[in-house]
Symmetry: C2
Subunit: 459 residues, 2 copies
């Protein structure tokens, strides 16, 4: 349940209350809920942003924030997804800018495919590249103003719990909390949603094994930092909505260098099966269980969405037509009782039907449901989620081409290339302001795969 730190002082209509509930349901924490209510009360469209840095291959952990973003879109929120390409470039200076551009494009393909597959109209969804505004005069002047306002101590505190684990943290780590605050202003939003990637932005070089509680802690600190400092620049304080942290889908320790530790959006059904089979899932252990967490944050809400869509209470597209998921069937079996959202076919006890996550959790905790039975049901559900994404990929040559450019096979033979001496001639002062990001000088091109975030958020 969403918790608001403010008491409810605004009298909303039942429709507005329903809107607010959809925006804030399943969240861990809401900072500044009253400001969102005030917007709804005035009949305005709330605007939100969620940011991610297009570094490593997006994995299905992204379903967690995207499922919540689907709520925002259903509630009529205007959503801006920031693809932080500048941050991605800085995250690994060895990756050439061109590669980052391909990855940014690939992320956009995947994100749009996910929303399309869920029947979420994207007319109010804007995908924005950081480089489109983060290198402008105004933004940078504000960055400098912020740096001349924020003490070293405060900037450090905003990311301290994680940064202190790095032996020699980079200066950029101190800048990111401020830049993230400025993004709220420059993206012109009312609230920021804390999703999968906030923390990895802070970590240069990326750290792989951060305890989840730290990740949440840091995300919250960055948000309160923004609330404190944006007004000092004369800008409005924004609201902040936070997902709870959940363990990664595969459980246990994950490594970005081990492709088996994450399920890719384009993994084949067989690969998904193999990976889930290997996922850590201890009988009776409901705390450190990535499968259950994924079921709670993704499968149940999406199953409910499909039920709503079937009832005609889903969400209208801009033509006023009912939008539908590509696969309209929920994760309940055909003959499941009314209200079922997830069915697990067990080896010995036949089908078990769950209408809430709490029921699933309880059955697992009491070992009435064994991981050996849960896993095949998860494989089936996840493959049904991925099927339309895979199909969209197969049907779109540009999507395919982008993927191979974004994540080139490290084992593929590279054409022999003579290394040129790099000479950069800066533009004369005052010139060249409009040069594209692509034209900026970059380090030598090298085929590599940056790390994807290892921890995901869910309710």
């Amino acid at each position: 349940m969403a918790e608001s730190t403010n008491s409810t002082t605004l009298d909303l209509s039942p429709e507005q209350n329903a809107q607010y509930d959809m925006i804030t349901r399943r969240l861990q924490e809401v900072l500044g809920g009253e400001a969102i209510k005030a917007i709804l009360k005035e009949g305005r469209t709330p605007k939100a942003y969620w940011g991610t840095a297009p570094t490593g291959r997006p994995h299905i952990g992204y379903f967690v924030p995207l499922t919540k973003i689907a709520d925002f879109l259903r509630a009529g929120v205007e959503v801006k997804i920031l693809l932080a390409d500048v941050h991605a470039f800085l995250d690994n200076l060895k990756a050439p800018l061109e590669l980052v551009q391909h990855r940014t494009k690939y992320y956009e393909y995947v994100l749009r495919a996910v929303f399309t597959s869920l029947g979420i109209p994207t007319s109010k969804l804007h995908i924005i590249q950081g480089s489109s505004y983060q290198l402008t005069r105004e933004y940078n002047m504000d960055n400098y103003r912020l740096c001349a306002t924020v003490t070293e101590h405060d900037a450090k505190k905003a990311g301290a719990e994680v940064v202190k684990q790095v032996e020699s943290p980079l200066l950029s780590g101190l800048l990111y909390p401020g830049l993230q605050a400025l993004d709220e202003q420059y993206l012109d939003v009312d609230f920021q949603f804390g999703g999968v990637d906030q923390v990895s932005l802070l970590l240069l070089p990326p750290i792989q094994h951060i305890p989840d509680r730290y990740v949440y802690f840091v995300q919250r600190k960055i948000f309160t930092f923004a609330e404190r400092y944006l007004p000092r620049l004369g800008y409005r304080k924004r609201s902040h909505l936070m997902n709870a942290m959940v363990p990664g889908l595969m459980g246990g320790k994950m490594s970005s260098s081990d492709p088996n530790s994450k399920i890719d959006f384009l993994d084949s059904p067989e690969v998904v099966k193999k990976k889930i089979k290997g996922a850590f899932s201890e009988p009776g252990n409901v705390e450190d269980n990535g499968l259950l967490a994924f079921a709670e944050a993704v499968l149940f809400p999406i199953s409910q969405l499909k039920v709503d869509q079937a009832k005609g209470t889903g969400v209208m597209d801009e033509d006023g037509k009912e939008a539908l998921s590509t696969d309209p069937k929920s994760f309940a079996s055909d003959n499941a009782p009314e209200g079922t959202l997830f069915t697990v076919n067990t080896k010995f006890d036949g089908p078990m039907h769950f209408s809430t996550y709490e029921e699933l959790r309880q059955a697992y905790k009491e070992e009435k449901l064994h991981p050996g039975d849960l896993k095949p049901a998860m494989v089936d559900a996840i493959n049904r989620l991925l099927d339309p994404i895979r199909k969209a990929f197969e049907a779109n040559e540009e999507f395919q081409k982008t993927e191979s450019l974004a994540y080139p096979d490290p084992n593929a033979k590279q054409p022999a290339k003579k290394k040129k001496e790099k000479v950069y001639h800066p533009p004369p002062p005052g010139k060249g302001k409009n040069t594209k990001l692509n034209d900026a000088p970059s380090a030598d091109a090298k085929s590599e795969s940056a790390a994807a975030p290892d921890t995901v958020n869910a309710s």
Copy 2:
């Protein structure tokens, strides 16, 4: 004498050697002298930059770096003076940007008036505003690249000795060493000259009483920081020329809030007399003596310049004509022996003639020359330096208008002004890149006078 850390391996012509000697004479330290020699050897024009932040009123301590810059210009160096308006704005966020623009213009008037008065042709002198290039995409991308390369620890070390004296240093203090390194690249110079203002850039808020040894220490650290990190971005390492630190002209502790502690370029002859009379100058003490330091760094070199100009060995302007100081007479009395550069008329012993600073120093040390005699000679010399500046000011209405806008009388009555609520609408992403600095949002206007640097450099 200039010390080069590199052994002389290049065989220069006598003219090139003379050029190099003029560039490096009277400096405390030269880092990368060989690179400058190589440029001279190739017959190219060396390019240099010196930066200052147009904050408080420029005082006559600026004669110290300007006297050295006159050497560069005489040696045919292309000199860029960076008026760091962005830094000046950040130095005191309460001062509106408009005020900074007026101050920048005022600094330019003063600097040009000084060079004109000394008969130094300014065809190879470029005065550049920081805002003309420091807010571009390329510069900021490089700033981010640098921040993703430099550790917090290294950035801190570059300014640590001073910054640690501040209770809560601002984040900007960690950025400045990097920005100063980038300026070398973006101003496209071969060397940077360390003058009066390098340290004050680091100090936000400004500190008034930094021991001189720290100031020099920090300046050197910032320069070696630049030498270390610029190549990491793929840019060429630049050379660095450093003036020695000298105590402020007035000696003792100076305070920016006390106008008597500094001599303004526009002070009247009577005010100069009064201030010098009050300057700290202990008989026999040649170490902590601002008057002697000023004589060494400014009066002797400028007197020599005038002698050279009279002999026709000064410097040609671009038409090949001999340029002359506005006041062509040296600081020797009319009937002084050949080679005299400075004459002091003493109360009891008649005129004392000095052809080198060392002679002056020795006489003072042995108390053959008393401060009571030195002071009137200093008053006379300084007034002769200032006279053409004052005249240029009186003759130029724009200069006068700029001065009153740049440093408005804090006691003048302000027209009653209704305070408006500030609303800033950021441009949509990707728009508004070409907006002028003036258009950026700024804090409320307030009449104030920022602190000028309190320590000056000299040989």
